[in-house]
Each structure stands twice: as C-alpha cells, then as structure tokens.
C-alpha cells in the first residue's frame, strides 16, 4: 500500500499528475480494500471452493454421422499436483519450453507458475465460465469450461 502511495506522490512531484488527480488516486486506493473486504466477507461464508474443472466440447462437423460430445471432469487437486510437477521441470527444459511458447507468440512464462499462485487462481476460478461458440459451414463447435 505504501509503495502505491509513494508512486502516486512521485508522479505528483514529477508533474505527471495534478494534485487533484493524486488526491483522487489516493482516496480510491484507500477505499478499494475496505470495499473489497466488505464484499468478500459474506461471499467467503457462503461460497464453496470449486472441486472440479469441467470441460465440455460439443462438435458437429459436416459429413459426419452425428455430433461428438466430450465431457471431462478434472479434480482441482489434480491441477494443484500438476503445477507442483511443473516445479520439478529442470531449468534447462523449462527455458526451452518457454522459448517454444514465446515462438508461438504466447507471452507466458512457465517459471511463474507456483503453487501459491495457483491457490489464488483457483479461488478466482469459481466465478469463471468460458463459452466458445464457433459456427461456420463446415463445423459447429461449442466449448464450455467452468468450475463446479
């Protein structure tokens, strides 16, 4: 918190922001944690942590007999263990994997995945639902990813 306040004051001293803007930023910064905690408190009491990650794919391709449905339920524990497994990857292999990912144009660093980050991610996943619906003349694909 103090770091943010210092940053705002530094921006003010450098003339990047006006005193009014600095005041607004600081007041917004002070209000956010209290608002966040007041919203989180009732949620934490009622909302259960997700136990599974569900992936559903419904695909219908032209020329095929019928639709293909894929339904996968992965326990969150398995995700946690998988992230721990990623921690066992030797640094050289991790470097190569990162390079390959960057070559594909994905700005992602595998070394940043840590179990403590995963807990935070899983907490956020309870609100996550990804729906992809692709329709064209050849195929009709629906993908749903959510936690339950």
């Amino acid at each position: 918190m103090n770091e943010h306040r210092l940053q705002i004051l530094q921006m003010l001293s450098e003339g990047k922001i006006s005193p009014d803007e600095a005041e607004r930023l600081i007041s917004a910064m002070e209000e956010r944690p209290s608002a966040g905690s007041s919203q989180k408190a009732p949620e934490s009491g009622t909302k259960a942590r997700p136990k599974y990650l569900r992936v559903q794919v419904d695909s219908e391709e032209a020329g095929h007999e019928g639709p293909t449905k894929v339904n996968v339920r992965v326990p969150m524990q398995l995700l946690r263990a998988g992230v721990k497994l990623a921690g066992l990857i030797p640094p050289q292999a991790l470097h190569r994997a990162n390079q390959a990912i960057h070559e594909q144009g994905i700005p992602f660093d595998l070394s940043q995945i840590k179990p403590e980050n995963l807990e935070e991610l899983i907490d956020q996943l309870s609100d996550l639902s990804v729906d992809v619906d692709q329709k064209d003349h050849e195929a009709n694909v629906k993908v749903r990813v959510f936690c339950e």
Partner: protein, 86 residues
Amino acid sequence: MIPLVAVVSLRGRESRTLRVWVPLILLWLLLVPFAVLLSPLIFIVCLVCRVNPFHAFSVGWQILRALNDTQVAVEHRSAGVSICVF
C-alpha cells in the same frame, strides 16, 4: 486415498454398452515390485536431472491421489467411451 477402481464404459454401434470395472488396487499391487526395483534408477535419473528425488516422489504420489473422481467421456452417434476413476 489413491484410486481403487476405474469404470470403463464402451458403447458400440448397436447401442449396447459394455461396462468394465477395473480394480486399480490390483494394478497398484502388481506395479509395486517394479517400482521398488526401479527406484534406484529413478533416484539416479533424478539426481542427474538435478531434481530432488524425494520431492519427485511426493509429487508423483499427490498426482496419484488426485486422480480420484476424474471423469472423461467421449460420445458419438456410433460409439462412446467413458472412463471414471474412483
């Protein structure tokens, strides 16, 4: 608890479903002697790769335990496969 049973359901064109209960506990019991025999080799490989062998074992065990309640199902008009691990 590690998974003890896997239920594999296979559905063919005639809509007949074949359900097989696979006692994984027997599989684990069969694999234990191999795991014991291979453990020195695994230990050396871990050291060569600069991975803590005890940590590797711990993570492997956690993955095995986490497999419980995993479910994979693929359905098509003509066939379907479903695997549930308990």
